[in-house]
Symmetry: C2
Subunit: 340 residues, 2 copies
């Protein structure tokens, strides 16, 4: 039954439009008798309220946006994004919100998308996965007064709500573990230095070296995008420096790096040990399996949604920053299982 309006329902049920509205929205102050009658009509006609009309009148769209920024190739090959999206979508569904997805891969995308997300009467709130420096989109969006939660630590945090893991301490713990295993020459393949994830994980690595009185050796540190290919190339640069162990800023990077190591005729973990970051399901299990830091990506997405909804409903006065727990998981690639 298309095109039916609330007015029609009201007429059929012999009540006023306001009463019908009350029933639809589960308001109190409707007699059981009337409520039943109206509900019956709604059932029979499979009436659906008009979303735009409702939004216009109530100033709530029950829709939130998710912006996934410029990450061309990583978007397809790193399980992080699909997993995060799943967590977000699932939470939205549970909370009866609709999710609008904005994939920004080019500068033009960015420009077309901004007015759309800023438009009022469309989104109740916005989620942005980023930690990119100089992210125009974020700057713009924070200025508009739409409730906003950033996934990942934003570069400037003041007044901005965000949700992240403690990248620094998680990495610190992981690298400490490598130290405790007796490795002296511990290198890192860091993430992009224009991202907060990249910066924070590098910071954790450096802090561990310092805590353990290990020298900082520039030849043991290379930067990489979060892709297998890039990890591979980064490792090739690192091999001449003869690292005994590597902390890779993501599992995908570790995968590429291990490929480079194997190609060079070296063994993991005997010649080079590895620790990664993420522990999200990969299409194929790495060999040897990765010692890594698990971050709760799926739940991160869910929590981001919940936080955003709280902001939407209770006002955006106090910015929230939420740090979720990681878990260090020891498997084969770090060599611990053998040495013990």
């Amino acid at each position: 039954m298309p095109g039916l309006t609330l007015e029609d329902i009201a007429k059929k049920a012999g009540v006023s439009r306001s009463t019908a509205s009350r029933v639809v929205n589960n308001h109190p102050n409707v007699s059981d008798d009337v409520r039943h009658r109206v509900q019956q009509v709604i059932q029979e006609t499979s009436y659906q309220p008009h979303a735009a009309a409702r939004t216009l009148a109530s100033q709530r769209s029950w829709t939130i946006g998710l912006i996934l920024p410029r990450t061309v190739s990583a978007l397809f090959t790193d399980p992080y994004y699909p997993r995060l999206t799943q967590g977000i979508a699932s939470a939205c569904n549970q909370k009866n919100y609709t999710l609008s997805l904005f994939l920004v891969s080019t500068r033009e995308d960015e420009e077309k998308i901004f007015p759309r997300v800023a438009r009022k009467g469309f989104l109740d709130g916005l989620l942005v996965q980023s930690g990119q420096i100089g992210d125009h989109l974020i700057d713009g969006v924070t200025k508009s007064d739409i409730p906003l939660v950033i996934i990942g630590r934003p570069f400037h945090t003041k007044g901005i709500s965000y949700i992240d893991v403690d990248n620094i301490n998680a990495t610190l713990e992981a690298v400490n573990h490598l130290v405790s295993l007796g490795y002296q020459r511990i290198g890192t393949i860091a993430g992009p230095s224009n991202s907060t994830v990249g910066i924070d994980r590098l910071k954790g690595y450096l802090r561990s070296l310092k805590d353990n009185d290990l020298p900082v050796d520039e030849t043991l540190m290379v930067e990489s995008e979060f892709t297998e290919q890039d990890g591979y190339q980064a490792m090739q640069k690192l091999i001449p420096a003869k690292p005994q162990a590597i902390f890779a800023a993501s599992d995908i990077i570790a995968l590429g790096a291990m490929r480079a190591v194997k190609e060079a005729g070296l063994k993991v973990p005997d010649d080079v040990a590895f620790v990664g970051f993420d522990d999200q399901p990969l299409p194929t299990k790495p060999d040897p399996e990765l010692t890594t830091i698990r971050q709760p990506v799926y739940r991160l997405g869910g929590r981001a949604v919940e936080t955003l909804i709280e902001l939407i409903e209770n006002g955006t006065d106090a910015a929230r920053s939420i740090i979720m727990e990681t878990q260090f998981i020891v498997r084969q690639s770090c060599g611990a299982k053998k040495k013990r």
Copy 2:
């Protein structure tokens, strides 16, 4: 400048609301003079039209929905979905449509989502990736009169627009290639038999056997989900039957199967040759590289959007079915490179 309405803009520019509206919507019949004046005001105030109000008045939301059905684990590990989504998102962006994403993984999801997508005044059209038999959602959605394009061949096609590749002939060609390479015992790891992809690719395999007067051997045929893990297990069942070559219904399946083969101490392609399906970027390159059928997943998404928009704009009278080209790509895993 929040909360500004078209009325305010009109007032500031000294024109009527209708004229202001004409300028906003780039209608003709506005003098350059007036147009400029209004545009200036819009600029200065960074006015954004209220999306819901516009939708209500024009009966167009400029939003389309994408439903990705129940595919729990494959969603994270098979690059197909992220890639498809990218193609769709990019096309939406280009066409100035907004994309709403519905990830359906449980039955409850399904029930919560249906009323939302069916609600009028919210979506102008709907994209559903499916080819699942007994898909309640599709059944329901086809009954609502919202413009709809299915990605993948639906089980019942009459009156339904869809876009797909020619799975049967693509597979036929691939298996013929294996035959031409001299393999006699060619097995297949088929996709789920409750999906049209699974069915069609199996059909292509069988047709090739028939065309080449090869016997159909049940012990050489196993069914599998589109995951690495399942491909691995499927292959384990197949190994005792001593296949010389395998057509795997997807690259991910082939990956798992090759792992099983290697674990059994056999060599690819010398002991068992492989052909896969998809050729989408994987996090890590398979070894040996896969001979496979490339389907244009990204463009498939784009084309689906274009088709849907056409349906939205020109009416949904004639259902369209679009078949996109695949490309057979020979690499190492089938053994061709060696034998030549």
